[in-house]
Symmetry: C2
Subunit: 148 residues, 2 copies
Amino acid sequence: MKKSQALSKGELEIARALWDIGPATVRQIYDQTSATRDIDFATVQTYLRRLELKGYASSKLAGRLRIYSAKTKPQAVIRDTVDDLVQRLFGGSAMPLVRHLIEDGDISRQEIAELRKLIDDLESSKTDDFPGAAKVSGGGKSPKEPKS
Amino acid sequence: MKKSQALSKGELEIARALWDIGPATVRQIYDQTSATRDIDFATVQTYLRRLELKGYASSKLAGRLRIYSAKTKPQAVIRDTVDDLVQRLFGGSAMPLVRHLIEDGDISRQEIAELRKLIDDLESSKTDDFPGAAKVSGGGKSPKEPKS
DNA sequence: TTGCGTTGCGTACAATTGTACGCATATCAT
DNA sequence: ATGATATGCGTACAATTGTACGCAACGCAA
């Protein structure tokens, strides 16, 4: 069977809003999203419907309002999305993207510190480990696995 | 003026191949790309045509073969693409993406070293981020060249 | 020279994506 | 009550994207 359908850019945007504010009505998502970019209420509605269709959200009627809830964790979707991009744009290696992000000046001074801490952790957790045996401190996540 | 049209995922893939191997015939791009993923020769042809239409490539006939050349630097396209993703997925801040990439275990140990170096450079070149807060710490590093 | 494979090029077409209309209700303020 | 407003829901439709067919011309091997 087909693997879970990927989200389009627009859908991603809505999904993000949904993650952000938790279970919400169309209007709430609309308010949040339209603050940043020009979008129609009905369009948001459609996106949410499609999000549900694709299995990324669920909804229930509460009175006459439909409440949408995210059904998947952001991490999973983000991973898939980013992986796909990395695949197409860099043939699969993440490093070039990291490099790009860092060199492109999108990282603030303050964030550099955090970043350093991050790689410190990473380094210590990876020492003398076999490839694939990486363990990330803090988040008990399942290891990456070959998909498709 | 009209903002340059974004590239679709498929187009990005082809663009990457084009950057990779430089000016090339359809077949060359096809060979390169089809090694990784299943794609039709004619499809590659179409992508290249569209790439040219959108202004990302140019081409000329050499004998009876059409040679395509990338017209834009990868950096620019990558930046636009990544920026867009970051916008939609993280509301504009790049850090969450960096964090994701690092925590998701896609960075090898060797790359960590490089990453650290990158950060060092960044830190020293960013010291005058906001006015009046000049506090230089590092030795003279090669300044980051402001590209566009 | 006769095929056969290759490429250019025009064209096609289904799926997906972005965007939204319109109607039937339901609700709220007056 | 009544009209203005909001929402659900079905439906629509153009643009973009992914994928490819088919033909004509070209060049190489037999």
